[in-house]
Symmetry: C2
Subunit: 331 residues, 2 copies
């Protein structure tokens, strides 16, 4: 087993976010689930985009956002995801490369256009996401750079991408390659509705020992375990993965590692503007600490600081110097 040359390789949706501010009645009128993520087809995407207000476009995708945060914290990152050869694909590629992240997945030249996520931010700062998966859902296993995966300390997988068949198969191959090379696998549950659709698969991955680090929030861990309360849900999973992280919005986060539970408070935020990316950036801070050998509490604190930064502005990627925000934690 050779020394890893990358800290992390992530497989995720290669998406451009389209963000607009909407009133609560927009969510009601279009029968959306506030705070959730739903998949939409091309027709729905067109109709919903037509109804949305003026927007801003910014590269997104859950795992890609996590890497953006990790790269800002000095981690060496690689990303695998499918864009189409079009303007939004070019925007996604440019942005991820400009962060110093390796990204070599060849853009598709037939099939649907680059994925976009239509995000409505309501006055309570919650985001309601509507994802047109486009090219992202056709990431073939053959597009994986297995050498890159084997060269990274951690393979990070995005639960959202478990929906479409091809990327799911690709992620299974990636797990095998990483396992074979003795690497760690981190997995984020992404969304309660994704879990509804894939609960059996996710539990099987856990019980087969294929997940070393599991990220979830309170709703997701309850959905996964079908428990109504947080403590029972945590108890039901904690012993089955080496590291479990559960984020709890303004109540902070916990980490259960080797049977021991750690926690941290949420980092202070002057004004929460847009919660998009909170979980992604929490994972970024935690994992950036993890690959530097920080203690669980330090990792949690780094996660909390990165999450606090991203919810203080629109868009799901950091806008200020994350390293500076970490202070002594990076010492």
């Amino acid at each position: 087993m050779t020394e890893p040359s990358l800290d992390i390789v992530a497989i995720g949706n290669a998406i451009v976010d389209v963000i607009s501010r909407e009133e609560d009645d927009f969510i009601v009128r279009h029968a959306l689930t506030k705070g959730g993520m739903q998949l939409i087809d091309a027709g729905q995407a067109e109709a919903l985009y037509g109804a949305m207000g003026a927007g801003l476009e910014i590269s997104g995708g859950s795992a890609a956002n996590t890497l953006a945060g990790m790269a800002a914290l000095g981690s060496k990152c690689g990303f695998i995801g499918q864009v189409f050869k079009d303007q939004l694909g070019e925007v996604f590629s440019h942005d991820i490369h400009s962060l110093g992240i390796r990204f070599e997945t060849t853009a598709a030249t037939d099939g649907p256009p680059t994925a976009r996520c239509l995000i409505m931010v309501t006055p309570d700062a919650q985001r309601t996401m509507n994802t047109f998966l486009g090219a992202s859902q056709f990431l073939p296993a053959s597009a994986l750079d297995l050498d890159m995966i084997r060269s990274a300390r951690i393979l990070y997988l995005e639960g959202y991408l478990w929906d479409p068949e091809q990327p799911r198969a690709a992620m299974r191959s990636a797990i095998e390659a990483a396992r074979g090379a003795g690497r760690q696998i981190a997995f984020t549950l992404s969304d309660a509705f994704v879990i509804e659709r894939h609960r059996a698969d996710f539990l099987k991955l856990i019980d087969n020992g294929e997940i070393d680090i599991l990220f979830s929030n309170e709703t997701e861990i309850c959905s996964l375990t079908q428990k109504n309360d947080f403590e029972s849900a945590v108890a039901a999973v904690a012993g089955r993965v080496p590291v479990l992280i559960v984020t709890r919005s303004e109540q902070g986060a916990i980490c259960v590692k080797d049977g021991e539970r750690h926690q941290c408070a949420a980092a202070p935020v002057e004004k929460v503007l847009d919660t998009t990316g909170a979980g992604d950036l929490f994972a970024a801070g935690f994992l950036a600490g993890h690959v530097r050998g920080k203690t669980p509490v330090q990792c949690l604190e780094m996660g909390a600081i990165a999450a606090a930064e991203v919810i203080s502005h629109y868009g799901a990627r950091p806008e200020t110097d994350l390293k500076a925000l970490m202070g002594d934690l990076l010492a």
Copy 2:
């Protein structure tokens, strides 16, 4: 002469802005002129975009930004500009329609892609703009909706679009149509380098009485008149146009109308983040007041408030409720 059904029709670049934060040395290294606008070709656009950091995309274009502000202030607006039938063209069209602005120029299906403006914002909040005109430079006179132009109280023209030949010819036809219908013509000088290239044309428009309302900033009026000091420059133009507005950044703005000079202070801003769109939104506030029959001082104050809003965040279009910010001015 029939009663106008629109307050304003503008002809301008149909552009998507790509905004990134860069350090001062980026501007030096790429030999850019800080605070200015330069035209770049496809090759330069590719090279510069490759060197820029991660960006955010937001619809822009000087005159289109002005209309975005006016529409937010309740004015009835129409826009004419050329996009290509591609993703960025779709973004531009969506955004302008979602603001309630009439926009019916048919997207081009051959020629270059939709225009984009690569904007670097330095720590001093100044923007350096690099415009790839793309489809925008091929707005043909035949694309003008002359009935729409005749139906608007004001025809607003963007000096930037005087550079390419086809839109320049289109704007000349538009002036003729508006004049014939007894409408007012407003013109923004846009940029000192644009003036360097077209000084003779601009002075001729002025002296032929084809401009009723002229917008400029301090640098631009000095460039137009080739005077070194503000007062001499103002004196050289003031008598030649019915309404002259000159903005002076943190020193406020003046308006000379029928030989009488009015002024206002800059509106307070907590923190200037990005000056992109300051002039465009000043024009928006001023013209929204003008079409409501406000006094010159009230128009100036509305301009100052709209400009202050747009420089307090990234992007050149308003993000907060401009009407609310105007308070008693809209009474």
